[in-house]
């Protein structure tokens, strides 16, 4: 750049800057409140984004999944709040529940005392109304709870009875996920599917204080039934900036909590304030290697088992995932959170497949897949093995993982042709079965029935070329179907455990697909203002379990 134009540019910038500063004093920068209120509550916590897209519009309808703003989680309450880490249910609007003998009826005892923000009492009638609202407006029933329900009754204000079309244990988490809305307000709503609920009458621990498309502020609801556990006066959600700017803000300490992917988090975040800055990336649904089971050699269990041995999960985690996540257990369960579901014999490391290239090569030899003179692995017709591996373009960490796997397969003499079409194409090819190898994400939720039914049940699949509902690997197995059915009709957790145990064993023995690593739940938090965040040592919730997290927070220094 010439000296002249540089001076000109600098001059223009300085002039503009001076104008702005003259107009408004000091602009920009973080204006952090900090400190405690007179009552001893944390004045204000700063959180990350609040949903609703780039140009958020007011919407506190908890059922409009695509566009509701983050405040919905603090406004409306469920019957039981699930800890998504251990999958345990914590009493919330209901204090207790019980099943009838054959598991078709679920009775909740309602908590006494909850009121709506307009003073009306919250009771069983509201629960009945809410569920019937979902029944009458299919679009609002985003979890499909009415696939299982027959009726909901409130024989008295303190009791709600759910009757299922069959044994209902598999739908327990779905019922618990539904947030209860006030009958006396919502019964007059003309079309609940387009209702944006701009002035919400709610029951939860926080109420909306202010909203702009840049920031959403919620404040403590003093009339909340559990208000004594809420030590936070205000939470401000801030619309996220573009990726790198957001990272700079995180490292500058603008947030008390956020959920974002950050490369090199130790350096970018923790090292800036090692005493206060922490992170916990709890494991989520596993990302797995899917092989199209309708094609040879993937239909051969011996081949699949050998492949599972030949994948270096530790290296994938280190090189493709920044070491942020854990290698996945072959059972498909998310461990250690769900370790109570493991059957005998699979505890500890037993359900993880350790990398052993030599054993993998031997297993391939033994299964009849020998090598030619140049070390190329041959299939049973004598052709060199070469498979396509489809990974969504732009998913860079997945592509890196696939490249590591490409090396692993190369070591076994198998050539992988890595393809990266658009995510939409991969999605469509996966459900149509038009792939040889690809990545898939199934299971790992707190609904054990879904975890196994979706990837493995025969009624969820279709022949290659037709769209499979969820069983994209095209696994068909009578014993699996029987166990999935047992899981569906299981009465209580004991029966569920038995079926989950056997299904885990099938995952180990038959290797229908190969879980590689656990997807991470991003979560950064600062203990400068608040303590009590969930973490590895105290996994009472995942960050997304907002109600549990909020009621655990304490002002820093107060707990001594």
């Amino acid at each position: 750049m010439s000296r002249n134009s540089r001076r000109r540019a600098a001059g223009a910038v300085a002039l503009a800057a001076a104008t702005a500063i003259a107009l408004a004093g000091c602009g920009g920068g973080a204006d952090r409140g900090g400190g405690l209120t007179e009552e001893g509550f944390i004045q204000k916590l700063e959180y990350g984004g609040f949903g609703g897209g780039d140009n958020p519009q007011v919407n506190y309808n908890p059922f409009l999944v695509p566009t509701r703003l983050a405040a919905w989680e603090y406004l409306y309450e469920p019957l039981m709040e699930t800890n998504d880490y251990t999958c345990e249910a914590t009493p919330w609007l209901a204090t207790d529940f019980s099943w009838n003998e054959d598991g078709t009826q679920l009775t909740y005892e309602m908590r006494e005392g909850p009121t709506w923000t307009d003073g009306e009492a919250l009771d069983g009638e509201d629960v009945k109304f809410t569920f019937e609202l979902l029944r009458d407006n299919e679009a609002l029933d985003v979890d499909g709870v009415w696939r299982y329900l027959d009726s909901v009754e409130a024989p008295d204000p303190g009791t709600v009875v759910f009757t299922f079309t069959g044994p209902g244990a598999s739908a327990f988490t779905l019922v618990n996920n539904v947030r209860i809305v006030p009958e006396h307000i919502w019964k007059d709503v003309e079309d609940p599917v387009t209702f944006t609920n701009e002035e919400p009458v709610s029951s939860g621990p926080m109420t909306v204080k202010s909203f702009t498309p840049q920031a959403l502020v919620i404040e403590r609801n003093p009339d909340f039934w559990g208000a004594e556990d809420v030590k936070v006066q205000e939470i401000q959600f801030n619309k996220s900036d573009a990726g790198q700017v957001e990272q700079l803000k995180l490292s500058r300490g603008d947030y008390d909590a956020n959920a974002m992917f950050v490369p090199n988090i130790e350096e970018v975040y923790v090292d800036k304030d090692p005493e206060n800055n922490h992170y916990w990336f709890a494991s989520g649904s596993p990302i797995s290697l899917f092989m199209n089971l309708e094609q040879a050699p993937f239909d051969d269990v011996a081949f699949r088992k050998a492949i599972a041995l030949g994948i270096d999960r530790e290296r994938i985690v280190e090189e493709a995932q920044y070491g942020y996540v854990e290698p996945a257990s072959q059972t498909g369960l998310v461990l250690p959170g769900m370790e109570e579901w493991l059957p005998e014999g699979l505890e500890g490391d037993a359900s993880y497949i350790a990398y052993d290239a030599d054993a993998a090569a031997e297993a391939l030899d033994a299964a009849g897949y020998g090598t030619d003179g140049s070390g190329k692995r041959l299939d049973k017709t004598g052709q060199p093995m070469e498979f396509s591996f489809k990974v969504p373009g732009g998913y860079n960490d997945w592509i890196q993982a696939a490249q590591v796997m490409q090396d692993d397969f190369e070591a076994l003499g198998i050539t992988i042709d890595l393809q990266t079409p658009t995510p939409e194409t991969v999605e469509s090819d996966r459900s149509l079965g038009e792939y040889e190898m690809t990545f898939g994400v199934r299971g790992g939720t707190c609904n054990m029935f879904r975890n196994f039914q979706e990837p493995l049940a025969s009624d969820q699949t279709a022949p290659t070329g037709e769209k499979a509902a969820t069983n994209e690997i095209r696994w068909r197995d009578d014993r699996t179907d029987q166990l999935v059915e047992e899981l569906r009709v299981a009465v209580g957790e004991e029966d569920q455990r038995a079926a989950v145990g056997e299904l885990s064993q099938i995952m180990m023995d038959e290797v229908p697909y190969v879980p590689i690593w656990y997807g991470a739940n991003w979560f950064q938090y600062s203990t400068k203002q608040a303590t009590g965040w969930p973490n590895e040592d105290d996994p009472y919730a995942k960050y997304a379990d907002s109600l549990l997290v909020l009621t655990h927070l304490q002002p820093t220094g107060s707990e001594g």
């Binding site: 750049m1 010439s2 002249n4 134009s5 540019a9 223009a12 800057a17 702005a20 500063i21 107009l23 408004a24 000091c26 602009g27 920009g28 897209g53 780039d54 140009n55 519009q57 409009l64 999944v65 695509p66 566009t67 299919e138 679009a139 029933d141 985003v142 979890d143 499909g144 696939r147 599917v193 944006t196 202010s210 702009t212 498309p213 840049q214 920031a215 619309k239 900036d241 573009a242 700017v245 700079l248 803000k249 974002m260 989520g284 649904s285 990302i287 658009t422 995510p423 939409e424 194409t425 999605e427 994400v441 790992g444 939720t445 879904r450 979706e454 509902a469 969820t470 991470a520 997304a544």
Partner: protein, 332 residues
């Protein structure tokens, strides 16, 4: 007259073609809006599994019609004539018109003003460089523009953010305004102005470059033409030749370019709005693409194509009026 009619007919035909492509292209891509929305929602917390029941509910919610494509096309054309663009998938249940209305002002003010400013400054500088061609002024301007032009826009923008927003903290890092409620109050306007400074500066650094180079090169060329030499022979002043013979001819292509730039304002703002998190139409466009938000996408594309085609038409008409040679060549 035939020239203008022909241009008008061309306008109508291309508009129809654009509208039709606009309808077809997103629908020919693989991918499903409901899945795209669920994928985006899972984004923050890592990939999540997609439940078919959830997909179905969201399809019902958004009213994604299972009609065949011909019927959809009919509905689409009819709705354009009614001026209805439907409900946005991304901002459900708000209408596309509402969402675009909110974003439009931001883009118009920021990018509109800087585009006009860039054009004026760039053209003047280009004229100056050509007038002083071969001197140091010319060299500095030409080399300087070429060098600045090779720097990626987002790099300059990020540099500005880093220095002026993070290090010096003079300006906010991004966004169109802070927590204050949008309105016409003084406090809000000052706040919005502060947020507009960095994006505007970034646009003003890179904006005039194209105009400078185009104007300079066109003008140097027209100064070499026979009519300019004749003017020199007639003994007219150098300045008069530069303005009346050089600049007047050289500015014509720039006028077309400027009309197109204004017409394409909405589509061309993606980068600046992405980097500065500016709440305008460019970000809306990126979001609509990511979410397969057909109603929003179509309305935005329609605005852009209509804008560009209309600008083209106006430029053609202006050309025909300003330069009689064009009219004659075409109708001859």
């Amino acid at each position: 007259m035939a020239y203008f009619l022909r241009k008008l007919a061309f306008f109508v035909l291309t508009l129809w073609a654009a509208v039709t492509l606009n309808f077809l292209i997103p629908r020919l891509q693989p991918g499903d809006p409901a899945e795209a929305i669920l994928r985006r929602l899972g984004g923050d917390q890592g990939p999540s599994t997609v439940d078919p029941a959830q997909l179905e509910a969201i399809r019902t919610m958004l009213g994604i019609s299972g009609e065949n494509i011909v019927v959809q096309y009919g509905q689409y054309i009819a709705s354009i004539f009614r001026g209805e663009f439907g409900v946005s998938y991304t901002y459900f249940p708000y209408s596309v018109t509402d969402v675009i209305g909110d974003a439009m002002l931001w883009t118009l003010v920021l990018v509109g003003v800087t585009t006009i400013f860039s054009f004026i400054v760039g053209t003047l500088l280009g004229t100056w460089a050509a007038y002083r061609r071969g001197t140091r002024v010319d060299g500095v301007l030409t080399l300087g523009s070429t060098f600045l032009g090779t720097l990626p826009y987002f790099w300059i923008a990020l540099l500005l953010i880093y220095v002026f927003a993070f290090q010096l903290q003079w300006f906010p890092e991004g966004g169109g305004y802070s927590s204050t409620v949008p309105g016409l109050g003084g406090e809000f306007l000052v706040d919005a102005f502060q947020h507009a400074v960095l994006p505007a500066v970034s646009l003003l650094i890179t904006g005039p470059i194209g105009w400078i180079l185009a104007m300079r090169n066109n003008m140097v060329q027209s100064l070499g033409e026979d009519f300019s030499r004749l003017a020199v022979a007639r003994g007219l002043s150098e300045r008069r030749i530069a303005i009346s013979y050089g600049a007047r001819i050289a500015i014509l292509p720039s006028v077309t370019g400027f009309a197109l730039a204004l017409g394409g304002l909405f589509g061309g703002t993606v980068l600046v709005e992405q980097v500065f998190n500016y709440p305008g139409l460019g970000r809306l466009l990126v979001e609509a693409v990511g979410n397969r938000d057909y109603p929003l996408l179509q309305a935005l594309f329609l605005m852009t194509t209509t804008g560009i085609l209309l600008a083209n038409l106006l430029a053609d008409v202006a050309y025909g009026i300003l330069d009689p040679r064009v009219r004659r060549e075409v109708s001859a």
